[in-house]
Amino acid sequence: MTSLVEIRELRVEATTDSGRTIAIIKGVDLDIAEGEIVALIGESGSGKTTIAMTLMGYARAGCRIVGGTVAVDGVDMVALSEKDRAAVRGAKIAYVPQSAAAAFNPAIRIMDQVIEVVRIHGVMPLEEARAKAVALFRALSLPNPEMIGDRYPHQVSGGQLQRLAAAMALIANPKLLIFDEPTTALDVTTQVEVLRAFKSVISAHRIAGIYVSHDLAVVAQIADRIVVLRNGEVQESGATRDILARAQHPYTQQLLAAVTPHHAPRPAVSGPTAAEALLEVHEVSVGYGPLRSDGQPAIVAVENVSLRVARGRNLGIIGESGCGKSTLARAIAGILPPFAGGVVFDGRELGRSARSRSADQLRQLQIVFQHADTALNPAQTVEDILGRPLTFYHGMARKPRSARIDQLLDMVKLPRSLRLRRPAELSGGQKQRVNFARALAADPKLIVCDEITSALDTVVAAAIIDLLKELQRELDLAYVFISHDLSVVEAICDDIVVMYRGRKIEQITPEAMARPEHPYTQLLLSSVPKLDPTWLDNLRQDPEQVRAYCQR
């Protein structure tokens, strides 16, 4: 079998804002056979998208292909003129973007964008293209395939847009498809449907492809071969089953380990503290917008949710985007006062808004936000960021404060030399550690963690989770851990609350996650991809449930 794609000694350089040149792809070789799907796996910054883009002879602004060849069907894309590359793009090689929501032009109807490739390259009459688009919509199980093309991108859901993007890529019968993390932005229940749709059109058209992802479990379902990348170099490559079963490279093993949840059941705390509730949320309802005449806000995001967190224990809250889990976190912290219900902390009723709580109540209940990038003031040094709560809550003078900052950095395992850096000079994982250390600075009893690992790579996220567990043992903390990532929640929590459309629908323990009772929980948990390559093919979901709970 001859290779459709032959990448040899590919090197790409990027120019930073300060004018420095850094090598981001350092001599990569890669082959894709006809009809084969090769996955590129790696953390952010490993160069996986950059390599995929070079197949179209394209490098993003600031990047430059400086060496090597990228032969697609015998033609070196690097050596082609811009005009010749344009003739190949879309027609022979097509691209499925990471965020279809951003990749669709908001001002143009979907159908016009889907058949634009045909219009540009003139490969078939437009009427035929329209008919083919409708057929593809149907094949990708989009609702209302005849009419959906007449809509604008903002009028359809994210999962639908992702499938429409696949239709857009397939319209001109390309030989090679580039999937750039096409399901990363989707909820798990939606991801299942999109992956299925991808898989069926790939096998129906016998398309070769490159599948860029950071998620090994997703890749396991769709790829024939896996290439593991790190820092612009290939670490390991092999058939999917071999990589999953017998990974040789330590980095691959680390990636695999990070996917598998490692929940060690903690011994139930005995003694009087076990039953003692630290946080109790009583029938809280939260909403946005102006209050209507009946006292309810225009949009109700959380309805009648009650929770209980025992001292030193962890409560996980899971649910898909828009289920109200972050809103609930903000209500507990008093950032967004609930319009009904109450929060009892340490036996005392808390004011609904943070303003009406005492400094000591605020100190004991801290919140850590998802995006450390926006939660940390870019103009302040790490020292300033950590020093502020020390002064505010503890009134520390300069000397003890300085000593405490060193301790906090030790606790989150950051070198003390980072004290004078600003957030922009830290990596994503380091920023999240500073973000967490700031909460620790208050000496809290409870920390609400709102999706604190979602923006991080799997290996980095796993390290943060380990850190959280360790700190809990040392400091007797309790966490409310909010995430859409079930394996993370499973790894750290003693109890898990499942939310759907603003309501709490079930509370289970990690041990009981294998057999949940509520149909939505069943659907949600069964939708989480497993490392087993046959998982998707064997997955049977009740279509009734899917229809009832998914807004696909």
Binding site: M56, Y58, R60, A61, A86, A87, V88, R89, G90, A91, A94, Y95, P97, S99, A102, A103, F104, N105, P106, A107, I108, E116, V117, I120, H121, Y152, H154, M168
Partner: protein
């Protein structure tokens, strides 16, 4: 969907109406606060106190300000702008000829500068960071930094004094042929074009550059779209809102902001009329001119907003 956009446009128009009323209020009281007493000025220093008193009564100057405002507003609505204090002519008559002159100059400048500025701005965005883009940017910053009286004076020096191609002032009353017309308008139009284009070029360049950096333009590039298609089909429709706003702001300058150009070229426009009115304390004339400028401005910005609403498919 349809009724939503209608209600949005109606809401925008309602805001414009409210703004117009607030603006007339502000204009009236700002001019009323000008120092100096009209009656004294009209009658001269030698007037007897009785004469001044009589005139004040006749002109309702002693009425409470709010009544004067309402009387004036009612007049404006009926097209009666009052009578000039200075020469007893109806303000409407004084203004109409001058307004036509200003609109002529503004229209001509707009017809030339808008296409020119958009072409330059869009091409600069397409060829960003090239020599062309940089030279254009430097030239624009240069032009913005030079005050317009300087540009106007330099134009007069060059074309009228040294080259002797054009008259130094615009004799609009002597236009008989197209050649006369061109000679009379060349310098004011060129000066104004230079002044108002800079802003439009910068804004349209920035708006197009921003949309060219979006993922959907990259997606179109990866579909094999040509550069022209990227810009005109994908980027421009989404950059329309900010560009139309920049154009409206620049054009509004052509109504009230042209006083310097009108003065240098001795062009009989409305801005010059207003400045003359200020020196004679001719309140009805000042108020009317100010209100015309404000309404022109309001009209342009409202139009721009409505175009932006209509061009946004999320609202359509």
């Amino acid at each position: 969907m349809k009724h939503r956009i209608v209600s949005l446009v109606l809401a925008r128009l309602a805001i414009a109406l409210v703004t117009a009323i607030i603006v007339s209020f502000a204009v009236f009281f700002a001019t009323a606060m000008l120092p100096g007493d009209t009656a004294t000025i009209l009658l001269g220093q030698a007037a007897t106190p009785e004469a001044v008193e009589g005139l004040r009564k006749a002109m309702h100057l002693d009425d409470p300000a709010i009544f004067r405002f309402l009387r004036w507003l009612a007049g404006v609505v009926h097209g009666d702008l009052g009578v000039s204090y200075a020469n007893n002519m109806p303000v409407a008559k004084l203004i109409s000829g001058r307004l036509v002159n200003t609109l002529k100059l503004a229209g001509l400048t707009a017809v030339i500068s808008v296409p020119l500025a958009l072409t330059l701005g869009i091409t600069a965005a397409m060829l960003r960071n090239t020599l062309y883009d940089r030279c254009l940017t430097i030239a624009i910053i240069g032009v913005v930094s030079v005050p317009e009286f300087m540009i106007a004076t330099l134009a007069v020096l060059l074309f009228a004094v040294y080259l002797n191609w054009l008259p130094a002032v615009s004799f609009t009353s002597e236009i008989r042929t197209v050649y006369d017309f061109a000679r009379a308008y060349a310098m004011p139009v060129v000066t104004l074009t230079v002044v108002i284009s800079a802003q439009m070029i910068r804004m349209s360049r920035a708006a197009v550059v921003e949309t060219l950096n979006t993922p959907y333009v990259e997606m179109a590039l990866l579909k094999g779209a040509s550069r022209g298609r990227l810009v005109f089909h994908h980027a421009l429709p989404n950059a329309l809102g900010p560009i139309v706003n920049a154009v409206a702001l620049s054009l509004s300058y052509l109504l009230g902001g042209v006083i310097i150009v009108e003065t240098v070229f001795n062009y009989p426009g409305i801005a010059k009329l207003m400045v003359d009115a200020v020196s004679t304390r001719d309140l009805p004339l000042i108020q009317s001119c100010a209100i015309i400028f404000c309404f022109g401005y309001l009209f342009l910005t409202t139009t721009a907003d409505i175009i932006a609403i209509l061009s946004n498919p999320r609202l359509r």
